[in-house]
């Protein structure tokens, strides 16, 4: 827009580059703990007096993530304007010679997302807690690897937008249900989950016909763009 153009004219290219770098850094810092970037915070803490050229800076930051890092900036919540980074590179065919460290919490998250998906998209919280108990993770006790389970699952994963944890109305005592969060929708492949399910149960993934259709439907298999050339 012309407002952006006018704003750009008042700034040197070096100033715009500097601000773009700060926005990139901010995304990288927030991604250390997988916290989505909220536009209001980004403007308040980083963009500041450059707000008139905000669209241009976001365009450049997005291009940097794409072309330098192989990452994609995605708006996951159009109402609250929240952004995350996801990977554009497919996992390699062969095993990488450098084994990157794994985060055991991702295993925990994977189990929860799998149960929700396999149960049709929404489950009562008790089903999750009971399944975790069978896996020796008791939400009532401090886990030696995960610490406070309730906090990790119903707070951390929710803030990261991997999960939604919502109160079911008119329940006494209070009960909640879990769904996939907006981050999970774009970051996690239902097709691949189903493949793993098939492997675990020694069963054809297609035998879960409803889930199979869901995984292979357009919305269920959001392909976040193939790699740029």
């Amino acid at each position: 827009t012309s407002q952006v153009q006018r704003g750009m004219q008042k700034l040197t290219p070096a100033q715009v580059d500097q601000k773009t770098a700060e926005v990139v850094q901010y995304f990288l810092v927030k991604d250390q703990k997988k916290i989505p970037v909220r536009r209001a915070d980004l403007v308040k803490h980083v963009v500041k007096e450059y707000r008139t050229i905000y669209p241009e800076i976001m365009k450049r930051a997005s291009r940097t993530f794409d072309q330098v890092f192989g990452l994609k900036m995605i708006e996951i919540d159009a109402k609250n304007h929240m952004y995350i980074l996801i990977n554009k590179l497919e996992p390699g065919d062969g095993a990488s010679p450098i084994k990157s460290p794994t985060n055991p919490k991702m295993g925990l998250l994977f189990v929860i997302l799998s149960v929700i998906f396999m149960k049709g998209g929404v489950v009562r919280e008790n089903l999750i807690w009971n399944t975790l108990k069978k896996l020796r993770v008791d939400p009532g006790e401090k886990h030696e690897e995960f610490g406070d389970i309730k906090k990790v699952v119903a707070d951390e994963f929710v803030r990261q937008r991997y999960l939604e944890y919502v109160r079911i109305p008119h329940t006494e005592p209070v009960e909640h249900e879990f769904r996939w969060g907006q981050r999970a929708d774009v970051e996690i492949s239902k097709t691949k989950i189903l493949e793993f399910m098939g492997q675990l149960h020694e069963q054809d993934p297609q035998s879960w016909s409803q889930q199979y259709r869901e995984a292979h439907s357009v919305s269920g298999s959001t392909q976040p763009g193939s790699s740029s050339r």
Binding site: L28, Q32, T102, P104, G107, V115, E145, F196
Partner: protein, 91 residues
């Protein structure tokens, strides 16, 4: 909602979280104990103990389902560089 649930029931295999947990325990490398002492305590689940890296195994296998961005960690620049500390050399 309701429609989905009835479809799940009428076609295809139903998903059983208990069976899933059992399969997953095996995948995690559960050492099943000979005597079923622990069984009551674990609410019917098989007894035994999980190896140290149990959740790492799940995480490693699940990696290919995630399109997560790797994170950048650094030490330099994470705190304010202050002027040099007072000289501690004893002359």
């Amino acid at each position: 909602g309701k429609e989905k649930a009835s479809q799940l029931f009428s076609e295809g295999t139903a998903f059983d979280p208990t069976a899933f947990a059992e399969h997953l325990l095996s995948f995690m490398g559960l050492n099943r104990l000979e005597d079923g002492e622990d069984e009551q305590q674990n609410g019917g689940a098989a007894g035994g103990y999980l190896p140290q890296d149990a959740w790492h195994r799940v995480a490693r296998r699940a990696e290919c389902c995630f399109r997560s961005a790797p994170a950048f960690h650094y030490m330099m620049g994470s705190f304010h560089a202050e002027p040099p500390p007072p000289k501690q050399k004893i002359e």
